[in-house]
Symmetry: C2
DNA sequence: TCAAAAGTGTTCATCTTACACCCATGG
DNA sequence: CCATGGGTGTAAGATGAACACTTTTGA
């Protein structure tokens, strides 16, 4: 036992709630635990923070190691510090909230032994520790942020139709939106670039394709513009 | 050195940004450090999280021990985990954001040797570690939350006038508000109880006093009402 | 020619903003 | 009687919500 301290220290981990959109369905990334406790059960990807790496780096490293996932969006969610949340000892976890684009970057096989899998939000199995609470909090955050920040684009392919975008909002917010009003609002914001391209190989009238114009968004944001949908 | 672990662990602390309103000026609570590093300098109240206590409890305990302050509102702000934020070693801190009512509960002398003091936001001295960053983030949070959650009342005495409330908003948001529109909006929300009392000992027409009607607020909130000012 | 989704404007109600004067009180 | 802040309404503009039909394309 080479590491000694004058006072007892809680262990420090990260756990990440990674959402992805797969064929227009919202999915959650889980890994199967191959160690006790909860051996064989499903849990959020995560692990111990190393001394000398930032907590954010730790979260990214664990995602890469456990699931081979490079996320496009990662932010802190909340720190869970109840002493009994891990049966072994006092483990404080910094939870993260992440979005990946499963369409442009489809998942590859997990790099180490543990297997990783994507679950529809309705089909989430029992989770280890307090991970259910963490997932719930992350989903609330996703719903909240979606309306006030342009994070939905992180889940879509670079080129998308207005209907794709609307479906995304409807699925995550869990309510229907008016097509005309939605289009009016999103176009009026001026943060979409019309690519003058059409969908290919669809059995109906092809939709125009757009991309998120991030530079323009940043410019508008500086001038006090607020995204809201 | 009685505590040994198989892997190195970062230290875990809390730091709290406590705001109070004093004679209608927003103040920040700081303590003077009596140990290196930054000995004699000002810093946020906080300290090590003990094994077996929740991180929230740790934050409250440190506030009580270092400044004798019982806060009415405390919530997590952010976890700062850069490995170089403390010159001694890797210290991860869970930062908290707290509000106290300095008018109904004026500060008492600090309980232990360290001295605590309230600083106007414009007069904040140099701070130890990355505490300046933490304070900035907390102030942004205060400004953001103030508009969408009824947290301003935590800073006011139980009985206040509409002008008191408006001044609070103007000071924190740093812009002027229209008196008539402000009153219309806040009255229309139906979350203020008119106490049918008047200010005493003022050298002008006395204002009506109100209190925040929290039960009604909670009821409205359940029915999907959203506070916004 | 049919099915399936794309695309497009107007109206009404609501909310937001701007704005100025009289009132009550104590000194 | 004057200085100080308390208290009040209206009109114009902006925003949000409801709503239905025509167009394009491939099968």
């Amino acid at each position: 036992m080479p590491f000694e301290y004058e006072y007892a220290r809680p262990a420090l981990t990260t756990d990440s709630v990674v959402f992805g959109l797969d064929d227009e369905d919202l999915k959650l990334l889980l890994i199967r635990r191959n160690l006790p406790p909860f051996e064989g059960g499903w849990a959020l990807p995560g692990g111990f923070v190393r001394v000398g790496e930032s907590v954010d780096e730790g979260a990214r490293r664990e995602l890469d190691e456990e699931a081979g996932v490079r996320v496009s969006f990662l932010e802190q969610l909340y720190t869970f510090g109840e002493p009994d949340r891990d049966p072994r000892e006092h483990v404080v976890t910094v939870a993260y909230f992440a979005l990946v684009n499963l369409i442009d970057h489809p998942p590859v096989a997990a790099t180490d032994a543990s297997d990783a899998a994507w679950f529809g939000l309705a089909d989430i199995p029992e989770l280890a520790f307090d991970h259910k609470t963490i997932v719930e909090k992350a989903f609330e955050r996703l719903q909240g942020k979606l309306r006030y920040e342009p994070i939905g684009f992180e889940l879509l392919p670079t080129k998308f139709s207005l209907t794709d975008l609307q479906k995304l909002y409807e699925r995550i917010l869990n309510r229907e939106l008016d097509k005309r009003n939605f289009r009016k609002k999103v176009i009026a914001m001026g943060i979409l670039r019309d690519l003058n391209e059409l969908q290919q190989d669809v059995a109906h009238r092809a939709a125009r394709l757009y991309s998120f114009d991030e530079p323009t968004y940043r410019k508008l944001q500086k001038d006090g513009f607020n995204f809201e949908l």
